[in-house]
Amino acid sequence: MSSKNPRERQMLESIYSMIALVFILVTCVDLCDAATVVDVYRLIQYDISGVPFGSRFATLNHHAGSLHFAPGADLSRTVLVIPVRELNITFVKEYISQRKPLGGLLFLLPQMFNFGNREAATEGKYQIREKELMKTVLAELERLLIHANIPYPVYFAFEDDDIDAVLADVKRSDVSGQPATATTGGYKLVVSAPEPKKIVSPSITNIQGWLPGLKADGDPNQLPTIAIVASYDTFGTAPDLSVGSDSNGSGVVALLELARLFSLLYSNPKTRGRYNLLFGLTSGGPYNYNGTHKWLRSFDQRQRESIDYAICLNSIGSWDNELWIHVSKPPENAFIKQIFEGFSTVAEELGFEVGLKHKKINISNPRVAWEHEQFSKLRVTAATLSELSAAPELLESTGGLSDSRHFINETAIVRSIKLVAESIARHIYGRQGKNIQSFADNTSLAVNSPYIRSWLDLLSKTPRVAPFLSKNDPFVTALKKELEDHTREVNVHHEVLDGMFTLYDSTKAKLNIYQVASVTFDLLLLLVLGSYLIILFTFLVITTRGLDDLISLFRRPPSRKVKTA
C-alpha cells in the first residue's frame, strides 16, 4: 500500500504541472479571432512626362501600427493604420515631404463614402457640419497624396467592425509601450498584389449625339449648330473610388436631361428649331481635356465653322445662388455679350446670379483648365458654366474621394438645367429678352427630377477613371444607349490618351489581417513542451522500471579497462 502513495503523488504532480502549463500559455497571448479579409483600394500611381507620382508599390507584408507609436520608433517595417476621422494632416504632410521611411499607410474612410454599401450610404447619422469637415479633411489629404511621390504602398479601406477591433487592439498595445515588431506578436497586414504595370495605350471614348434642326426647303446653307458638352471621366486618389458625383457627374446628368428635353421639342416638326444640336460626352477631362481636343480635330473645317457656340458643363451640382460663366474671348466680344446677357436674364428670372469670368489662353502653356479653351483654340466660341469661380489646378476638382453623393444638391442641378435650356431655347426660337418660360414646372417640358436622381445615383456608384474604362465598358455603352434614345445620330470615337500621362494598374486588392504570435511565445512553448516530455519520461521510467533504472541512465558504464599500476 505504501508503494502506491508515491505513485499517487506522482500522478497528482503531473496533473499540477499540466495545469501550470496551460496557465503559462494563456498568459502569453490573448485569445485571438480568425483572420480578417478586407477590400482595399490603392492610391493612384501615375507619371507625368516620366516624373513619378503617387504610391509606387503594391505588395504589403508588415506589422500594423497606430498613431500612438512611441516617438523615435523605427517605422520602416510598420504599416500605419490611420482613420481619416482622427487624421492629423500636418503629421502626414511631414512624413511624406520629409520622405521618412515607412512600411505602408492604410487610411480608414467612414462608411459614409462607401457607395457600394447601400445601407451605410443612406445613413443620416452624421450631421451636416461633420460631413463638411470630413469633406475638407479628405480634400486636403487627396491634394497632398496626389502630388507626392511615395515609395511605399498606400491603401484606402472602409471602416467596419473587424478592422475597428484590430485597430483598437493595436492602439492598446502601442499605448502600453510595446512596439509591434517580429518578436512581440501583434497583427500582420498582408496584401499580395501583382506588380503594378503601365497601362499601355489607354483608350478614351467620346460619345456624340446629333439632333438635326428644321431645314427650310430649298435652303442650301448648312444650319448653325449649338453644342452642349460635358466630360464624364474622373481622376482621384483611389481610382476605384473616384465616382465624381459633382465633377463631373452633375454635368453628365444635366446634359442627358437637356438632350431629353430638346428631343421632345424637336420631335414635332412644328416646334423644331432652325439650329442643329450637338451633345458631346467627352473623356480625358482631367488630362487637359485631351479627349475634347481629339474630338474637335475629328470634325472637318466646315462642321466646326457651323458651330455657333458651345456650352461646356462642369460641376454644377453644389452651388447655392451663384454660377459662373468662364470665357476665353474678351467680354467685350459681341458674341460673348449676347450669350452672357441671355444667360443672366434667365438667371434673374429664376432667382439667382450668373457672373462672367475671363481667362486668357496661354498658347505656350500646355495646361488647359477649362473645356471651352479647347474650342477657343480652334476658333469656336465657347463658354463653361460652372459653380467654381477659379480655374482648377491640374488634377484638382476632378472627382476624388471627397466628391460623394452626399454633397450634391439636386435642386442646384435642376436650376442649372432650367438656365441652360431656357437660354438656348430663347436663342434658337429668337425670343431673347421675352419672359416666356418654355420649361416651366408642371408642363410636359418640365425638368424631370426622378430622371436626374436615378442617373446621379448611377454615376455616384461608378468609378470612371478613363484609362481603366475599356472600349466596351458597360457604362460607356449605357451612355451611348441613352443618347441614342434622345438624339437622331450617335457616334462613338475611340482615341488613345496622349503620352504625357501614364497610369499604372493594380488598383484594388484584398488585405489579409493575421494575428501572429511572437517568436518568444514559440520558444516558450518549446520549452514547456520539452519539460513536459522530460517529466513524462521520468514519470514513466520511475513507475514502470524503478528509480534505479533512471539513475543508471545517467551513469556511465564502468570502464572495462583496468589500469595497470
Partner: protein, 228 residues
C-alpha cells in the same frame, strides 16, 4: 516561425507516444512489431467504419445534436472495440507478457489514431501565418487519446485474455470499458448538444482520461492479486 509552431504542435501530438515507448520496458522487450501490427489493424478498422458511416449516416445541414444519428455513430464506434479485440487476441504476438502486450497494442492504436486524424490538419493549418490555439488543443487531445487507448486495451485484455477474474469486478470492468468506448459520442454530445467550446472539451477529456486510467490501473492490479 510558423514552421516552428508546426514543429511544436507535432512534438506535442506525437512526442508522448515515442516517450512512452522508450520510457517503459516496451523498448527493452522490443515490442515494436506488436505496435505496428496494432496500427495496421486500426487502419483497417477505420476503413470499415468509414464505409459504414457513409452508408448509414445522413448528412445533417446544421450542427445540432441529433440523438438518432449519434446513436448510430456510437454503434459504429463499437467496431473500434471489435478491432481492438482482433488486435489483442487474434494476432500472433511474440512471447511477451500480457502486461506488455496490452500496452504495445494500446500504443500502436493511439499512434495510428493520432497520425490519421491529426497529422493532415496540422500540416495544412499550423504552417499558416494566423495563430490559433486549435492545434495546441488538438495535441492535448491526442495525449488524452493515448491514455484512453491504453486504458481500453488494458480493460480489453482483462475482459478477453484473463480467465480468472474476481466475480465482483466483472461488471465494473465492462462498465468502464463501455464508458471509454463511447467517449467519442460523449465528447460530440458535449460539443454540439451542450455547446461547450473546444478548450473546455479538451480539459474534460484530459480529466476523464486520467480518471479512467487510474480506475483501470486499479482494476488491473486488483485482478492481478489472486494470481500473484
Amino acid at each position: 516561425m510558423t514552421l516552428f509552431h508546426f514543429f511544436n504542435c507535432a512534438i506535442l501530438t506525437f512526442g508522448p507516444h515515442a516517450v512512452y515507448y522508450s520510457a517503459t520496458p516496451l523498448s527493452e522487450y522490443d515490442t515494436l512489431g506488436t505496435s505496428i501490427k496494432a496500427a495496421l489493424v486500426y487502419l483497417g478498422t477505420a476503413l470499415v467504419k468509414l464505409v459504414c458511416l457513409a452508408t448509414f449516416l445522413k448528412v445533417s445541414e446544421n450542427d445540432s445534436f441529433d440523438p438518432y444519428q449519434e446513436l448510430l455513430k456510437a454503434l459504429i464506434g463499437f467496431i473500434d472495440v471489435a478491432g481492438l479485440y482482433f488486435a489483442l487476441t487474434q494476432l500472433t504476438h511474440r512471447n511477451i507478457s500480457q502486461n506488455h502486450k496490452y500496452q504495445a497494442v494500446g500504443l500502436g492504436w493511439a499512434f495510428a489514431d493520432s497520425v490519421l486524424h491529426r497529422l493532415a490538419p496540422l500540416w495544412v493549418g499550423a504552417r499558416g501565418l494566423e495563430f490559433t490555439w486549435d492545434f495546441i488543443l488538438q495535441g492535448l487531445e491526442a495525449n488524452a487519446n493515448l491514455v484512453f487507448s491504453i486504458s481500453l486495451a488494458a480493460l480489453g485484455s482483462l475482459m478477453w485474455l484473463r480467465k480468472n477474474k474476481p466475480k465482483t469486478l466483472i461488471p465494473i470492468i465492462y462498465a468502464c470499458a463501455g464508458i471509454v468506448a463511447t467517449m467519442p459520442s460523449i465528447t460530440s454530445y458535449l460539443r454540439k448538444g451542450l455547446g461547450w467550446h473546444f478548450p473546455k472539451v479538451v480539459g474534460f477529456e484530459l480529466f476523464t482520461s486520467l480518471v479512467m486510467a487510474f480506475i483501470s490501473w486499479q482494476l488491473f492490479s486488483a485482478c492481478q492479486r489472486p494470481s500473484s
